[in-house]
Structures are given as structure tokens and as C-alpha cells.
Amino acid sequence: MSGLRAEPADLTRLAGHELAGLLASGEVSSVEATQAHLDRIAAVDGELHAFLHVNAGALDAARAIDERRAAGEQLHELAGAPIAIKDVLCTIGMPSTSGSRILEGWVPPYDATVVARVKAAGLVALGKTNMDEFAMGSSTEHSAYGPTRNPWDPERIPGGSGGGSAAAVAAFEAPFALGSDTGGSIRQPAAVTGTVGVKPTYGGVSRYGAIALASSLDQVGPVTRTVLDSALIHDVIGGHDPHDSTSLDREWPSFAAAAREGAASGSLQGVRVGIVKELDAEGTADDVQARFRETVDVLTAAGAEVVEVSCPSFAYSVAAYYLILPAEASSNLARFDSVRFGLRVEGPGQTVEDVMAATREAGFGAEVKRRIILGTYALSAGYYDAYYGSAQKVRTLIQRDFDAAFEQADLLISPAAPTTAFKLGEKLDDPLAMYVNDITTIPANLAGIPGMGLPMGLGDDGMPVGLQLLAPMFEDERLYRAGAAIEALLADRWGGILTTKAPALTEATR
């Protein structure tokens, strides 16, 4: 957006890369940009509750960047831009609770690798965003600190588990955010808030300092309003980290360059796009289905070759996921025992065993307890082979299905979620119904492949509908190239990216 001379009041409406451009040219200071977003948070977050904690040191950090820039230092292209950080990530100086009462007030002595990297690039942390407790959920209603609301309609959920990051970005409280995706926690909130989110290839981004839910499924990724912005953040946080054994030691191309090329071309000429039959089935709402068909038409018109592929094992993905995740989580969450950090609940004369059990009873919410018990069951003697062992085999089958599908297609597409955002409380009493909702996003985590959620229009209720793109392992670049092209094609039809259509929120008087 060259030539734009933004007034401070407009700064929050800019895409991240646009704001970064103004910062780099010196037209806007980091203090102004940060203050604008802090003002926006103060104005709207009372209603949305996207943030659990606002960084009191944000303006100091912004000032430091401004001083370095004034001193002529060569800074990263995103330096000075604000970013929101999901509460699952460890941050020095800011509480990191993973949305749980059991970690209330816990301030880690170290930064997650991704946090250290965004800080090193000069981004300014605005605060920590709300999430389902320990990232268990698809609605952010399972946060111990109360739900986050969807900026498009505060009666509705913002998706989950990363509802806070998605809502913050959708409500212009932050241009960039970090999320984590174990079974769709970045892509599904993106879908229901009209934003963009990417789950990188497993191992593409370090998990060090991300409070683990399911170690073999978790990936940290970007949450933004545009594809290019996600790519820019991915470039910052990605790459090998020796602190994470599962981190991939390989050279990655510039995702920002891929996004810029994709947007510039606006073409999908020669790209083979596969529609997974099994993800295009009953359970998907009619309006979501309709937007998906329209999007397929847009892709075809842009030169994509659309084919149908079959992934028969996907039918078992939800079952496998709800064995592997609880099993790993039951073990990962064992460390919350009241001894070294976090909550302690104790009574007179109690043994440490009693204290641990009472603490975990009081400190964990219902969904967390449910999954810990389920995971304990899945791993216990006599059941391991039938449950956990079988689920690991389903993973192999799902990987094989993807391998076969990617023989026929360069990218796979599906709706990112079967419906638009539901109302708060609507599915809270039926955990199974909530679980089944994740079918579109789960296979990518089981197989380790990268995926992106991005807007593809509005549903009959005026709420955002999301598209999911999936690429083969290590081919995250394809998501950005194609995603940016699709975004540009749709923006042309709509006269701007989807979030510009979001209803204005009432700004509270401060």
C-alpha cells in the first residue's frame, strides 16, 4: 500500500506487512504502532477477552526498537511491529498458564524458541492470548479464565484452542499472532474468524518452550489476517533448533517470497488441486459446502486442475487422534504436581500423594481431566496394543493415504471446518460432538504435513467460512504460493480481504 500516509488511528487496520513497511521507512514509530494496538485492546478486549495478559513492558520494548532504528541499526523487516503470543508459549516476564488454573501466575525463567526468535527480530510482544486449557478444545470455552468471543459475533465461539490469537488478529488488536496446532487449533480458529493460520510441517518450527499437549502432534505456527503476514512470521520462527530433537535440520525457502510471487501471479496455472472425497461428505453444512464449490470454481478459472482423491483411512483419524492425544497428554501433564511450580492445594496432615491429587483435582478443568483419564486408560496394561498401538498404525495408514493423494495432486483442499462458528455453550455438554468437528484438520497432524486455513467467504449467518490447504511434508512453500494466489483472487471478487468486512465492534469508553 504505497503512498498511504496512515494516521495513528488507522494503524491497527493495516496488514502486518503494511505496518512493517511504515515502521521500516520511519513514517510510523514502534511506540505509535504499539500504542495503537494497546488502545484497541483496551477498547475491545473487555468484550472479546482475547488476551489473558497484556504486556506492561510493550511500550518499553517498542521504544528500544525505535532507538535502535534511530541509531541507524539495520533491523529485521518486521522490527517494531506488535505481535500477540498464545499463552501456551513460555515467555520470560509474562505469565504462561496454557489457559489453566494449575499454572495461574507462573512466570517461566526462559523464553520458548519461537518467542526468542520474534523478540530477536524486534517484534514487540503485546501480551498472551486466551486458549482452551492446555489447548484441549475447539472453542476456547475450556479456558480456566473464561471464554473468548468471536469478533464477528460475540455470541459465538472464536474456535479453539487458539481462539484468543485468532480473535485478537480478527479484531485488529494485533497484526500478527503466534498459535499452536495439535489437531487444528490454528486452522479452525482461522476458519471461523476469517483469518489466516498455518500449521507448519512437523519439525519445521521448534516446540521448545511450547507447553506440550501431544508431543508428536503439536506444531507452533503463525496467525494473521493475510497469507503474506503468516509467511513473514513463519520465516522468523522456523528453522532448526537444537533444543528440540524433533526439529528438522534443513534449509527452508523464503515463505514470504513464495507468498509475494503467488499474490503477484494470481494464477494457479498447472497446479493440480485434489479434493479429498472423505472430507467432502455429510456433516458439512450447506453454506460451507456452497462456499467451497464456489472457491473450487475460482481455482479452476485460475487454471488449477481439480481432481478428486480418496483417503479411506481418514474415517479413522478422529478415533486415532483421540487415543494418541490423550495418551501423550496424560504423560505430559503429569508434571503439574504442586512440587516445583504452579498451584498447590493442601490440607493439614496430608501426605504429598494427597496434595498432588487434590491439586490436580482443583487445578484441572473437566475437559483436561476427561482426557487425562482417557489417556491413562489407553496406555494402561492390557489395553496398549488394542488402543494406542492400533492408533499408531492408523497413523501409518493415513500417511500412506496422503502419499497416494499427493501422487495425483500438488495440493489438497477441503473446508477448514464443517460449520461456521457455533454459539457459546451450544456443544459444551457433548464432548463427542465437539471431537468429531475436528475431522478436517486432524489428518494433517497425524501425518505431520503442513496445512493452512484461510477465508473463503461468509456463511448464511454472515459468519466466516474457511478453506483448508494441505501440502506434502516439507512443502510448506506451496501453501504460501497457492494461498496468496487464492487470497488475491478472492479479494478481487470481494473488493478486499475478508476481515475488512467484519462488523465494527463497540469500542468501550476508556
Partner: protein
């Protein structure tokens, strides 16, 4: 409650003992098994204050992740090879899940169905020269837990304590757990075999240079499984697992005790409870601990934060080529090199002092001198105090003691006094000698004066010497030594006595 014990010989007549061992070896790498925090089992970090050798992983902080220590893997493979094991082409870590306050993640990263080494054997030699082969089931890598201190209550033990304090310095120390298969046919030598086995593991570990292997420091820990079956019975009896056996001597005693205790129960028609038992060094008994139950459902599963370790065959062969000689071969070589008589050598082996004598010789002492110190004065004190000789004094100090004698700085008697000081923690032999003023009187005129005085005091003895009864000089020498408070060279005094008597 005091256990009823059956006479050992009678127990052996009626029952066959079957043993099994789990030996944990702390590896002396610089850093921990899965993180770069300093390893307290490395000499540089022995005396660290509590909770100073910790990083996020040692405390199990949320978000922390493990990364495998390459040196620990090399050490583990070397140990596996020294135990004549197969080395896995692919080996995996697994989580063992249980809650305990010394376990920071409430799971231990260990190995389950894919250990680094398996199917081996160790040859051990008994005092009478018999050799026994101990079958090894597996050796796997894992991490140690922290340390608890129980406060309040009478005993400092866990029972009756008011609260406990936790130090996580040891959490994450690299361990190799060596598990034997059931050991049959030990018969009345079973207790001796037990001791010889653990001593052999210790010798192997020391010769590989992968651990200091000091039992009293917990570098080497042994759990002993013992069961009995009536003569003629095929099926194995119920076993107990005795923990906390922290010296070679205790290993032997604990096995013997369990044989006698179980035999008494079985003979009286009772049944053995499958349980953990604790060894008490002070009373020489075991007491019941935790019964095995379904609480032992450890829910093992592959550690998702770590990848398989697949040692290349090149690495395995490289490590195999560097293996030191086997303990039995080593013993034979040392015996020949040192020129010890059979009985002398047996004394050293039985006293579990081979490595101590070797280290002392390595520090410069003559083999016979080194042997005499260890099997003589030091063994006597160790026996008196009921501790291991190795805990009393460092081999280097013994060598220094001998050097002081050889140089004529100390007499044997003064050296024993210096040793006493060293064992009391007063410093090195030279430091003790200086601090206590221990030194041979070399002032010739002082000696002559003392001799003249003693001769004058005993004119009858003087006459006898002059009459050619040289052995009578002993009385005068004794008086002179007493007058010099032992700080004189007796041989020199004798020469002076004879010389002055003729004057």
C-alpha cells in the same frame, strides 16, 4: 519385627537359590542424559550445592524438551560391548509413568522394548579360582531421579517424617541399567557370586573409564532379586527385590540373608510375598517395602520427544576396538606383573582391593608396598569401622605415604600416624605430617645424645652388648625410640647404639 532365619547350610540342602540383579551405573559424562546441565556424577561437579545443577528440563518445567547426550550413548554402547551384548541396530526411548516427588516430569525417560544392548554375558571369578558366567538380558539407558531428604521424625527415614526436601541436581544423570537373566546353580556360592558379579561390573565400568563407580556415592547401585525353589521343583519361587544395597559386602550379606529368611518361611509352610525389601547396613537385615501391585502399571509408551538411536556398525566396531581387557584376563595379568604369591593375590581380591592396589601402583608405589597398606592397616581400620576400604583413603594418598617412607621422611610407625590423619580428613599425608609434626629425627647429635643417655641408664644392657650379646640392644633402641616419640629411624638408632656401646 525380627525375621526368623534358617541355618544357611540347611537352607541350601532344602532349597535352590535363584538370583537376578539390576545394577544401575551412573555415567560420568560432563552433562546430563537429556540436557546440558552439569552432571553431579562428573568429578568437576561433585560438591555442588543443592539445586544448582538444574536447567528447565531437570526441573520438568513446562515446555522443556530432552535431547540425547552423544557421549552417554557412546559410553552405553561401550558398556554393552564389554558385557558381550548385541548392540541394537535401532534403539528407542520410552516413558515410564509414575508419580514421585523426586521425578520432575513424573515420568522417567528409559528404554522398554528396544534397549541399546541385549543378550550378553559376564565371566566372574571366585576366590577359589572358579569361573562363573552370568547371563545378561539387557543394558538400557535412562535418567536418574532427584534426591529426597526426610525431615522430622526420629530416624531421618521416610517413615514418620514431617516433610521432605527435594534436590534435583541428580535428576537427569545418565544411567545404564544392567539386567541379568535368572542365575541358576550358584548354590552355596550364591552370595559370593553376587558380590563377585557386582565387583566385576564395577571393574568393567572403571576400566572403560565411564564412571567413578563408587557405591558409597551411588555411582553404582544394586537391586538383588532372590527366590528359592524346593529341590526337585521346576517352577521358580516367588522373588523379592532387595534395594539399597550400597556396598560389595552388603550385596553378599543381603543375598545370604534373603536365602536364610525365605527358607525359614517356606519351611514353615508360609509363602513369600512378592515385594521390594530394603537392606539395612547397620543391622544386616532386610525389611519389607512396597508390595508389587497394579499400582506398578507404568504405562510405557515410545517417548515422542526423542528419536530412535541407531548406532552405525562403524561406531560399534570403533568402540569394540577400544575395549579394555576383560576383568578375568586383567586379574591374571596384574598378578603376574606384580609378582604376588597366590595367597597374597587372593587377599587383595577377597578384600575387593584390586582396583585400589592398581591405582596405588599407578600413582607410583611398589606393588608389594601398595598391597601391604591396603590389606594391612587400611583393611584393619575398615573392618573395625565396618566400612569399605575405598571410602577411607584415596589410592594416590597411599602412594604418597609410601613415597615418604621410601625417602626416609617417615618411618613405618609415623606413616601409620599420618594415615590416621588422612583417614580423619586432615588432608594429604604430607599435610598431615606437617600439621602433626611427624618427621624422622635426622639430627645425628640429638640421636647420639639420646643413645648415650639410654645406655647410661641401663649399664647392665651396655655390658651385655659389650659381651657380644647384640640382641640385647633392643631394650636400648626401644628406650631411644620412646624418647624420640617414635620419630627416629630405628635402623639408624640401632647402628648408633652398637657404635656407642663399643666406644
Amino acid at each position: 519385627m525380627k525375621d526368623r532365619l534358617m541355618d544357611f547350610d540347611e537352607a541350601l540342602e532344602r532349597f535352590e537359590p535363584v538370583m537376578g540383579f539390576e545394577v544401575h551405573v551412573e555415567l560420568g559424562t560432563r552433562t546430563k542424559m537429556f540436557s546440558a546441565a552439569p552432571n553431579p556424577a562428573h568429578p568437576d561437579f561433585h560438591d555442588a550445592e543443592p539445586n544448582t545443577l538444574v536447567d528447565p528440563l531437570s526441573l520438568g518445567l513446562p515446555g522443556s524438551l530432552p535431547v540425547v547426550n552423544e557421549q552417554a550413548v557412546r559410553y552405553s554402547i561401550a558398556l554393552g560391548l564389554a558385557l558381550n551384548c548385541e548392540i541394537a541396530t535401532s534403539s528407542r526411548f520410552a516413558r515410564k509413568n509414575y508419580f514421585y516427588p523426586d521425578t520432575p516430569k513424573n515420568y522417567q525417560i528409559s528404554q522398554y522394548d528396544e534397549p541399546i544392548a541385549f543378550e550378553g554375558s559376564v565371566e566372574v571369578e571366585l576366590a577359589d579360582g572358579r569361573r562363573v558366567t552370568i547371563p545378561i538380558e539387557r543394558a538400557h539407558m535412562e535418567e536418574d531421579a532427584g534426591k529426597l531428604t526426610h525431615v522430622g521424625g526420629a530416624t531421618g527415614r521416610i517413615q514418620g517424617a514431617e516433610y521432605s526436601l527435594v534436590d534435583y541436581n541428580r535428576a537427569g544423570v545418565p544411567l545404564v541399567e544392567i539386567v541379568t537373566k535368572p542365575i541358576f546353580g550358584g548354590e552355596r556360592s550364591a552370595p559370593e557370586i553376587a558380590k563377585a558379579y557386582v565387583a566385576t561390573i564395577r571393574d568393567i565400568v572403571l576400566s572403560l573409564g565411564i564412571s567413578e563407580a563408587r557405591m558409597e556415592r551411588g555411582n553404582l547401585r544394586c537391586d538383588a532379586n532372590v527366590s528359592l525353589r524346593p529341590r526337585g521343583q521346576e517352577a521358580l519361587g516367588t522373588r523379592t527385590e532387595t534395594k539399597n544395597v550400597n556396598s560389595m559386602r552388603s550385596v553378599e550379606r543381603a543375598v545370604r540373608y534373603e536365602i536364610q529368611r525365605q527358607a525359614a518361611i517356606l519351611a514353615a509352610g508360609g509363602t513369600i510375598v512378592q515385594e521390594t525389601r530394603h537392606w539395612h547396613e547397620d543391622t544386616g537385615t532386610t525389611s519389607p517395602g512396597r508390595p508389587k501391585s497394579d499400582a506398578d502399571d507404568y504405562r510405557y509408551f515410545p517417548e515422542p520427544d526423542l528419536l530412535p538411536v541407531a548406532p552405525s556398525r562403524e561406531l560399534v566396531e570403533e568402540l569394540r576396538a577400544q575395549l579394555p581387557e576383560q576383568p578375568v584376563a586383567r586379574r591374571r595379568r596384574l598378578k603376574a606383573e606384580w609378582g604376588f604369591a597366590d595367597l597374597e593375590f587372593q587377599d587383595v581380591v577377597n578384600g575387593d582391593m584390586l582396583h585400589l592396589v592398581e591405582a596405588t601402583v599407578g600413582a607410583g608405589a611398589a606393588p608389594q608396598a601398595a598391597r601391604k597398606w591396603w590389606t594391612g592397616e587400611i583393611a584393619r581400620v575398615a573392618n573395625e569401622r565396618g566400612v569399605e576400604a575405598s571410602t577411607l583413603v584415596e589410592p594416590a594418598h597411599v602412594a604418597e605415604l609410601q613415597r615418604l617412607i621410601d625417602e626416609g621422611t617417615l618411618t613405618d610407625r609415623l606413616a601409620r600416624q599420618a594415615l590416621e590423619g588422612v583417614m580423619a580428613g586432615e588432608g594429604s599425608p604430607s599435610e598431615v605430617a606437617a600439621a602433626r609434626g611427624l618427621q624422622v629425627v635426622t639430627d645425628e647429635s640429638a640421636l647420639v645424645a639420646a643413645v648415650d643417655e639410654a645406655l647410661a641408664a641401663q649399664p647392665d644392657v651396655l655390658q651385655k652388648i659389650r659381651d657380644g650379646k647384640v640382641q640385647a640392644a633392643g631394650a636400648v633402641i626401644g628406650a631411644v625410640m620412646k624418647a624420640m616419640r617414635g620419630q627416629a629411624d630405628a635402623a639408624r638408632v640401632r647402628a648408633i647404639v652398637l657404635d656407642r656401646a663399643q666406644a
